[in-house]
C-alpha cells in the first residue's frame, strides 16, 4: 500500500519530527516501498492466534516498594541541556 505525502507529514507531526521538503518526498517513496514488503502479512490467516508481545511469559518479579539508596543526581543533571539548581529548564510551554 502506498503512503501519501500528506500522510507522511501527518505522521511526522505525531512523531515530533520536522521534515524538510526533500525528506518528506524521500520518505513517501521509501515508506511506500517498505509497506509494500509488509503487505503480505495481511493475507495470513490469524483467526484464533494470540498476539505475541513478548517471547516468554516471565512471571513479574516485583520488588518491595521501598526506595533503594540515594542515587547521586549530579551525574544526571550534568547531562541537562539547561537547568536551574536541580531542575531541568525548558522554553515556555504556554504562550
Amino acid at each position: 500500500m502506498a503512503i501519501t505525502k500528506q500522510e507522511v507529514e501527518h505522521v511526522a507531526r505525531l512523531a515530533r519530527l520536522e521534515l524538510k521538503e526533500n525528506e518528506s518526498e524521500l520518505f513517501t517513496e521509501q515508506l511506500s516501498q517498505i509497506l509494500a514488503q509488509v503487505e503480505k502479512l495481511k493475507n495470513v490467516s490469524t483467526e484464533n492466534v494470540a498476539p505475541c508481545a513478548h517471547p516468554f511469559t516471565v512471571k513479574d518479579h516485583w520488588r518491595e516498594d521501598v526506595s533503594s539508596g540515594n542515587r547521586d543526581t549530579s551525574g544526571i543533571l550534568a547531562n541537562a541541556p539547561d537547568r536551574e539548581e536541580n531542575l531541568f529548564k525548558v522554553p515556555k510551554v504556554i504562550e
Binding site: V11, L19, Q37, C52, F56, V58, K59, H61, G75, P91
Partner: protein, 485 residues
C-alpha cells in the same frame, strides 16, 4: 610466551592469575594494537585508557596480595556504544547523544568490572543499532578488517571489527534482529545472541524492548562461554530477566556431539542464498555428521514472514522508546526555539539521522489510529506463528543450522540507498529474535575472494550450552577461527 595481544581471553586470565604477565602489560599490548590498527579499521568511537589502566592496576594488586581477581582478570573488553559505562560517553553513534556521559553502569558492565575485566573502549555502530552495515553511524564508517572496501556488518560492526582486527580479545554487542550474529559472520568471529531474558538489558539503550539482547563477541567458543558466563543472570533492574539458573557453560560445552539431532530448515536454503555460502554451510554440516550428529531436513513454514513482521514490530517499539529523546533532560537541544513543542521537534530533527527517522516514522504510522490492527496487531499474531514453528521444530531436533547471512560482507555504499535491500541482509537472523531463542554465528570458511562466512546455530530457549557445545566441537575439528586478516 605468545605476545600478549595474541592471547585468547582464557589464556590471558590464566597467565595473569599465575603472574606470567601483568594485567597492565596485557592492556598496553592491546592499546598499542588499537593505535596501530584502528587508523584504518575505525572500530572505536572512544578509548577508555585511564579507567582501564586503573582497573588493570587494581587486578595486579589483588593478584600480588593473593586475593581473588575475578574470572575475567586482566581481559580487555570493547563495548558497543549503546551500553552504559559510568563516566563514559554512550553516544549510540547518534548526534542526539553526542555529549551524553552515562551517570551509571549497565548491569553487564557492573558484572564485568566485578570479574576484573578492563573496559578498553566504546565501539562504533549503526545509529541506535538500526542498520546492518555500521554505515548509519553519525561519526565514522568502520571497515571490515578482511577487506577495507567492505562493511563489517551491523549494527554491532565496531565490536565485531575490534575482535577480528585483534584489537580486543572480547567485545559486547547488542542483537535486535541479527546485530551480533551478522557482523560476526561478516568479520569472521564468534557472536552469540542469548535467549531473551538471559542477560539483563538494564543500561542498554532501548531499541525494541521485546527483541533486544546483549551478547558476546570472541574468536573461540571457549572465550564466548567465558564472557557469556559473566553477564548472564536475573537482575532486579530488568523485570524481563529470567530467574532460571545459569549453567556452567565452559563445562557443558565440552559434551560430545554424538547423537545430537540437527535440523536444516529448507526455507533457509532457497533462492537468494549465495552458492559459495551454501557450499561452506553444507561442508560444516558434514563435519557435524562425522562427529556423530544426526542431520535431517525440517521446515519452518512461516520464515518468509519474519522480515515483514520485524519491520513492523521493531520500528513500532523504537518509535515509543525513542520518544524520550526530546532535548529536555539530556541529549541535543536545538537552540533558540520559541516554545517547548518547537524545541522538541527541532532537537529531534537535528539530532536523528535518516535511518532512525525512517524507522520512527514507520513505527508511528503502524501504531497510529486506523492502522494499528492491520499492521501492529497482525504482526504480533504472525510473530506467534513464527515462534510456534520453532517450538514444533525443537520437538524433533536439538539444534537448527543455517547460514547467518545470505552473502559474505558486501561493499561499502552498496545497499545504502535502498532500505529494503539492506533489511533483507538480516533475513536469516530475524526469526531468532522474534521467537526469543538463542543463536550463535561461528566462522565456517572463506569465499573465493577471502571473505569470512558464518554458520548460524539456533537452539531451544535457554539452551546456550547447546550452541556452545556445537561451536566448541566444530572449532576442535577446524581452524577457520584461527585465521586472522
Amino acid at each position: 610466551m605468545t605476545p600478549a595481544a595474541e592471547l585468547s581471553a582464557c589464556a590471558i586470565v590464566k597467565n595473569v592469575q599465575s603472574r606470567n604477565v601483568s594485567a597492565l602489560a596485557v592492556l598496553d599490548a592491546f592499546l598499542e594494537k588499537v593505535k596501530k590498527e584502528d587508523i584504518k579499521v575505525k572500530a572505536f568511537l572512544s578509548l577508555n585508557e585511564d579507567q582501564a589502566r586503573f582497573a588493570a592496576e587494581s587486578v595486579d594488586e589483588k593478584i600480588s596480595k593473593g586475593e581473588p581477581a575475578g574470572d575475567l582478570a586482566g581481559v580487555p573488553i570493547a563495548v558497543k556504544d549503546n551500553i552504559c559505562v559510568q563516566g563514559l560517553n554512550a553516544t549510540c553513534a547518534s548526534k542526539i547523544l553526542e555529549n551524553f556521559i552515562s551517570p551509571y553502569d549497565a548491569t553487564v558492565i557492573a558484572k564485568l568490572r566485578s570479574q576484573g575485566a578492563l573496559i578498553i573502549g566504546k565501539t562504533n555502530m549503526d545509529e541506535f543499532a538500526m542498520g546492518s552495515s555500521t554505515e548509519n553511524s553519525a561519526f565514522q564508517t568502520t571497515c571490515n578488517p578482511w577487506d577495507q572496501n567492505r562493511v563489517p556488518g551491523g549494527s554491532s560492526g565496531g565490536s565485531a571489527a575490534a575482535v577480528a582486527g585483534g584489537m580486543s580479545p572480547l567485545a559486547l554487542g547488542s542483537d535486535t534482529g541479527g546485530s551480533i550474529r551478522q557482523p560476526a559472520s561478516f568479520c569472521g568471529v564468534v557472536g552469540l545472541k542469548p535467549t531473551y531474558g538471559r542477560v539483563s538489558r538494564y543500561g542498554l539503550v532501548a531499541f525494541a524492548s521485546s527483541l533486544d539482547q546483549i551478547g558476546p563477541f570472541s574468536r573461540t567458543a571457549e572465550d564466548c562461554a567465558l564472557l557469556l558466563q559473566a553477564i548472564c543472570g536475573q537482575d532486579p533492574m530488568d523485570s524481563t530477566s529470567s530467574p532460571l539458573p545459569v549453567p556452567n557453560f565452559r563445562e557443558e560445552m565440552k559434551r560430545p556431539m554424538e547423537g545430537l539431532r540437527i535440523g536444516l530448515p529448507r526455507e533457509y536454503f532457497g533462492d537468494g542464498l549465495d552458492s559459495e555460502v551454501r557450499k561452506l554451510i553444507m561442508a560444516a554440516v558434514e563435519t557435524f555428521k562425522v562427529q556423530g550428529a544426526q542431520v535431517g531436513e525440517i521446515s519452518l513454514p512461516h520464515t518468509d514472514l519474519a522480515v515483514p513482521v520485524y519491520y513492523i514490530l521493531a520500528p513500532s517499539e523504537a518509535s515509543a522508546n525513542l520518544a524520550r529523546f526530546d532535548g529536555v533532560r539530556y541529549g541535543h537541544r536545538s537552540p533558540g526555539a520559541k516554545n517547548l513543542l518547537e524545541m522538541v521537534e527541532k532537537s529531534r530533527s537535528e539530532g536523528f539521522g535518516p535511518e532512525v527517522k525512517r524507522r520512527i516514522m514507520l513505527g508511528t504510522y503502524a501504531l497510529s489510529s486506523g492502522y494499528y490492527d492491520a499492521y501492529y496487531a497482525q504482526a504480533q499474531k504472525v510473530r506467534t506463528l513464527i515462534s510456534e514453528d520453532f517450538t514444533r521444530a525443537f520437538k524433533e531436533v536439538d539444534m537448527i543450522l543455517t547460514p547467518t547471512a545470505p552473502t559474505p560482507a558486501f561493499r561499502s555504499g552498496e545497499k545504502n540507498a535502498d532500505p529494503v535491500q539492506m533489511y533483507l541482509s538480516d533475513i536469516y537472523t530475524i526469526s531468532c529474535n522474534l521467537a526469543g531463542i538463542p543463536g550463535i554465528s561461528i566462522p565456517c570458511g572463506f569465499s573465493q575472494n577471502k571473505l569470512p562466512v558464518g554458520l548460524q546455530i539456533l537452539a531451544k530457549p535457554f539452551a546456550e550450552s547447546t550452541l556452545l557445545q556445537a561451536a566448541y566441537a566444530y572449532q576442535k575439528n577446524t581452524n577457520w577461527h584461527l585465521q586472522v586478516p
